[in-house]
Subunit: 403 residues, 2 copies
Amino acid sequence: MTHSNSGLRLGRRGFLATTAAAGGVAASADQVFAIESPALHQPGIITAQQPCAYFITFDLATTKRDEVVALLRRWTEAADALMAGVSVHGLADSGEIDGLKDRDLTITIGFGPGLFQKDGKDRYGLNTHRPEALADLPRFTGDQLVPARTGGDLCIQCCANDPQTTLHASRALTRLAYGVADPRWAQAGFLPSFGKGKTPRNLMGFKDGTINPDSQNPQSAGRYIWAADTDLPWMQGGSYLVSRIIRIALEHWDRTPVSFQEETMGREKQSGAPIGGHDEFEPLTLAQKDHDGNPVTAQNSHARLAAPEENGGAQILRRAYSYDNGLSFTAERWPPWRQGMEMDAGLLFMSWQQDPRTGFTRIFERMSKFDMMNQYTTHIGGGLFACPGRRKGGYIGQALFEA
Amino acid sequence: MTHSNSGLRLGRRGFLATTAAAGGVAASADQVFAIESPALHQPGIITAQQPCAYFITFDLATTKRDEVVALLRRWTEAADALMAGVSVHGLADSGEIDGLKDRDLTITIGFGPGLFQKDGKDRYGLNTHRPEALADLPRFTGDQLVPARTGGDLCIQCCANDPQTTLHASRALTRLAYGVADPRWAQAGFLPSFGKGKTPRNLMGFKDGTINPDSQNPQSAGRYIWAADTDLPWMQGGSYLVSRIIRIALEHWDRTPVSFQEETMGREKQSGAPIGGHDEFEPLTLAQKDHDGNPVTAQNSHARLAAPEENGGAQILRRAYSYDNGLSFTAERWPPWRQGMEMDAGLLFMSWQQDPRTGFTRIFERMSKFDMMNQYTTHIGGGLFACPGRRKGGYIGQALFEA
């Protein structure tokens, strides 16, 4: 795996060099931070996806701003250590990846609206620095967000090649939060290993993520993924995450003829090509009509409604994983309205964008109303987070707390 | 991955040759079955563990014996096809592994006590053929089995290198059961990739499964894993599965000093060696005493209580996976009796044995009372299943239904 564009991955030597002299990041961070340095991107955003993800959110339990700062210092130091494959300073390692060769890992940390304001209260004196882009999401048609799987004041995304690596990292960071932030919800995700450069299929059997902004192109990433130049200084180099747990009624989907699946998706199942097309990466057939004069890619198809052409050019970086939580009792939302134990499985949708108002909300507002796919999908949880950039040697969020 | 000892894995050509002429397994199976043939083992028992597992159980919803037989025919045919990497006859493939290179897969099918008797009723006229070894398990001290994650009349274990492969197989088999058997509970599991021949670490950070009967030695497997010669004819070549979902209070474990973890486990954490030993595979230090005259491996340690020497030579094949279901609210059973959102993670314990009465029950009866590990572990679900052998060309369970 290569992470040439991940921005913040430190080698073992780099990490040790940063921390060894000062006996910890805290002192050295301030010194380095004082020198003006460019904002770095957190890893796990435009990094090539690895097969395993673990996403966890936290509720802050403290009223003290200093304790939040201290937690972010600990998290930053620990995340750097974990990504470098070394032990976390001052924490007995839980040991479950000792001897594991592949520990490749990214850790991404974000701030939910609750860091700024909760129950009408400016908890840590940060509310004047809340970005406009971090506006609460509206309720979308069909939303069935379960509180126990929704929200969080802080979030951590861990991605790796081995599920034990993501769990180990999340667990270490959770321990460092004891007494300051309580775990709220977590969701593991996975991607099948289709091989490098191949678009993986999601649990619906379709290729997922074909149309994405080119994250490796700085111009495209700068326009769609990274916070705008006009955003607050502490968000420079950062990105906004809209996460959604999207349960898919796979039992219903599986009993749907493939032809209707394809009409719903607006793509062919096997090839991933647009309806009537041949290749996965050719443009959608948005203008083409059939002999009756109807569009070959239905107006209420998923691919069309998600397409930039239909959303004033809006684009978000979809970096989703499949999830599987076994079975749970459910009532399907659409005919045949079956009730029973069904797969609690679907998509851990992770979307990264410059501004959720012009990204996810802009696109999903229409999709939530019109997408034929909604017969099969239900948003049951998720959250909104600002994942800041970082200055070299600084802790994540330092520019916010020192603004 | 090699499966040289898995017994029933068919190559693509072998599967096609079996089914092509007869246009389906049903007709050919009976013909072949009529000829006396040796019992074959199902795969997924002594097969080398793969990183991903999906275990699902079902409640039979039919009162008709013929429908159960027809389901087992469908499952057998479909399992053979899935393991051979070809499409399931008569079922639109859900498509999510189309193009996936690594589809290596084992499928293991078993029968719970409910197939024979439920609510005092002999549902399918099979109760006289219920093996004595399939006696209901007793309640063990500390059991907190949740009905929604416990039991089942039928079970399927799918193991593969990719989580999408296990999910795909389970999903196909579930579809084939619609109207006849309802999914009851499911649990995915995973193993970290420590490399071939290395004992993987579980989420407690310890190596798990060091002492196991040698499953590749026919004499050892014949004595501990496969049904006894004196068992019922339909169970010849089969094995009994005791499955348990063991939630581990990892938050509590992580705050326990490693020295006490090691005393609890009866092994050293880093090396996996017995207490006072040097190598993972050397014998436990059961007889050795310290200078005070106390055993170096504590009497209530996990490894000692599980050891054959302490259980009249009893052995079971432990073939466990870790599981992770995110967070859920829990109250820890032991001091500090913390309550809150904690990791619903631990062990999907899968044990295979000749007879649960002299295997799991014999060993766990004492462990459930005395094991120090019980401070951290809670059995929250599971099941008991007879996984029969199979005759060439026959469907799984045919010898039971024709007994």
